[in-house]
């Protein structure tokens, strides 16, 4: 029972982590809460669905296709809605992000309709594998596996490549890194591309897991992923991974012990409690107040 719920929780949590990474990276670099991120996740799920059901693609091809599409979309959103606002107050950029989010979800409502759509059964063959007294489905293995590969890939890009170094520098100090010859605009576009790609992969995985893709799935998933990012300490990449897993596991356990109608409140209660004890999240750096 315990092991079973733990597996379910990790599968859900790794998707939260994927989305949370996008929030945390964007925040780390331009201190913007990208509220459109949840909608990118939703669009990713729809693109994956289209590729699987109309173009009869393999699920992995669909994930990659959705990632590429959302990469372009993320970069475009940054270009249109955020770039002009980089120098103005952060709240203006926040409202702009909310505008983008409303725009995308109503666009999806118009294009794909109001009812939730499911993946065809042939999208991914689901088999149960018994481990002790717990069942793990091939679907959960897929989710955990894909998330792990993507997160390792991200870690590699951020730590080992030149552009990753530039990203870290930019998040450390925006102005100084611009003075050091880093093309800050390119770094920001790249960050949006990375984050959006991860969200798109998360979207396809969630779509397959719950077998439902709808125009409003981005809102709650986005909010919870944001909560996960803050829980881990916003701006910290390992923090987002940890926060996502923690929220996923605790949500699944909360539902398992009978609080299913409080499902959406569990994640946020944990968040509020953790922030009260540790105001900058679990792995967040202490904010030093400067005069």
């Amino acid at each position: 029972m315990f092991l079973q719920q733990l597996i379910n929780g990790i599968a859900l949590g790794s998707v939260y982590s994927l989305i949370a990474l996008g929030y945390t990276m964007v925040y780390g670099i331009i201190t913007l809460i990208n509220f459109a991120h949840g909608e990118i996740f939703m669009v990713g799920a729809f693109i994956g669905l289209l590729l699987v059901s109309y173009f009869k693609c393999n699920i992995f091809v669909a994930i990659i296709g959705a990632m590429i599409f959302c990469m372009i979309m993320g970069v475009l959103i940054e270009l249109i809605a955020y770039r002009a606002l980089r120098k103005s107050s952060r709240l203006s950029a926040l409202i702009s992000a909310i505008g983008v989010s409303i725009f995308l979800s109503s666009l999806a409502l118009m294009v794909f309709g109001a009812d939730a759509k499911g993946f065809p059964d042939t999208a991914f063959p689901v088999n149960q594998i018994h481990i002790g007294d717990a069942d793990i489905s091939t679907l959960q293995i897929l989710i955990i596996g894909v998330s792990a590969v993507l997160m390792l890939g991200l870690e590699f890009i951020v730590q080992k490549t030149k552009i990753g170094k530039a990203m870290r520098a930019t998040s450390e100090d925006y102005n100084t890194s611009a003075l050091m010859g880093i093309n800050v605009n390119r770094v920001i576009s790249f960050t949006f591309a990375l984050g959006s790609a991860l969200a798109a992969a998360g979207g396809v995985l969630v779509g397959v897991l719950f077998n439902a893709v709808s125009f409003n799935m981005g809102l709650m998933a986005g909010l919870k992923a944001f909560a996960a990012a803050v829980l881990g300490g916003i701006g910290s990449i390992p923090g987002a991974m940890l926060g996502g897993l923690l929220l996923g596991v605790s949500e699944v356990f909360g539902v398992a012990i009978g609080y299913s109608s409080y499902r959406d409140a569990i994640a946020f209660s944990i968040l509020v409690l953790v922030l009260l004890v540790k105001p900058t999240g679990l792995l967040g750096q202490k904010i030093t107040k400067k005069v």
Binding site: I33, S106, F268, V291
Partner: protein, 305 residues
């Protein structure tokens, strides 16, 4: 008196009246949030939570006790402000986006609480009986909106308001000047929530049906966009922002299904072209003084960073 006012209301087109009432309620809510976000600089993403607390409290007061509506609204406001103070005490220690996500989380918790709360019919929602007042609802709402505008205008220029502005500009400096920042932040939070509670009470009695799902994240965002669009910290700006955004969905109705699409795009473009809001950094008092010649014209408007 009551019948006279009733006939006065009947003269106005009911559709227009409804839009006006929506605008009035939006003004009360947005002015409340303006005290928290615009004046004190504390980003709150959970204003709808206080609105829902107000709405349900006010509805329950009408159902259980049948107090006169004015008394009901004041009591509702006090209850909401108390909840805000209790919540504010721990969470206002957080700063910036951590506070924002905390208020957001609190709003979700409140929503889920009401969705599972037996006395308010859980997810079915609550049917609210008519308000116990002689004055027809539309006039009542507009009166409250005017009171709110006057109240916030006075608060802004009072000692209290100046302390809040000091906290917004620089919290450490404000503290060094001897301002008890925690106390003022909690008071501002309570005042803003008081108005949210009153707005919620009006909303409940005007619509005569409330559902916990109506007070979700999107409602908070709606109110926040009114404040930011109008111009942070500006009372006339907030009034214009809430008038525009509360009536925009109605004016955009001719586009039927494209309505929310245009609304979203509108938010983006308004922000891109007016990053400080429509009236951000415009001092209404200055303009008035200039208009009547008490102050030299042509002085550049103070630009807020």
């Amino acid at each position: 008196m009551g019948t006279y006012l009733q006939s006065l209301v009947a003269m106005v087109d009911p559709y227009l009246m409804q839009i006006l009432v929506n605008v009035g309620i939006a003004i009360v809510l947005a002015l409340g949030l303006n005290v928290i976000v615009g004046l004190t600089g504390q980003l709150s993403l959970g204003h709808a939570a206080f609105m829902s607390i107000g709405a349900f409290a006010s509805a329950m007061i009408t159902i259980k006790t049948g107090l006169p509506f004015s008394l009901n609204l004041v009591l509702t406001g006090v209850v909401t402000a108390l909840v805000a103070a209790i919540i504010g005490f721990p969470i206002l220690r957080l700063t910036g986006d951590y506070l924002a996500i905390c208020t957001l989380g609190f709003a979700e918790i409140v929503k889920v609480f009401f969705l599972n709360f037996e006395p308010t019919n859980k997810a079915l929602g609550l049917t609210v009986p008519a308000a116990k007042t002689m004055i027809p609802m539309p006039i009542y709402v507009l009166l409250v909106a005017i009171i709110a505008i006057v109240l916030v205008t006075f608060v802004q220029s009072s000692r209290f308001g100046r302390a809040l502005k000091a906290i917004r500009e620089d919290e450490i400096a404000a503290e060094a000047m001897g301002i008890n920042t925690t106390r003022y932040k909690i008071q501002a939070f309570a005042l803003g929530s008081f108005m949210a509670g009153v707005g919620g009470g009006l909303y409940a009695h005007f619509l005569s049906y409330i559902n916990p799902s109506d007070f979700g994240f999107l409602k908070s965002v709606d109110i926040l966009s009114m404040v930011v669009l109008g111009g942070l910290g500006s009372v006339p700006g907030t009034v214009i922002g809430s008038s525009v955004l509360a009536s925009a969905p109605e004016f955009l109705r001719f586009m039927s299904q494209y309505r929310m699409l245009v609304y979203g795009a509108l938010l983006v473009f308004l922000m891109v072209f007016r990053p400080n809001g429509l009236l951000g950094g415009v001092n209404f008092m200055d303009l008035c003084l200039r208009a009547i010649g008490k102050k030299p014209a042509g002085v550049a408007l103070k630009q807020k960073k």
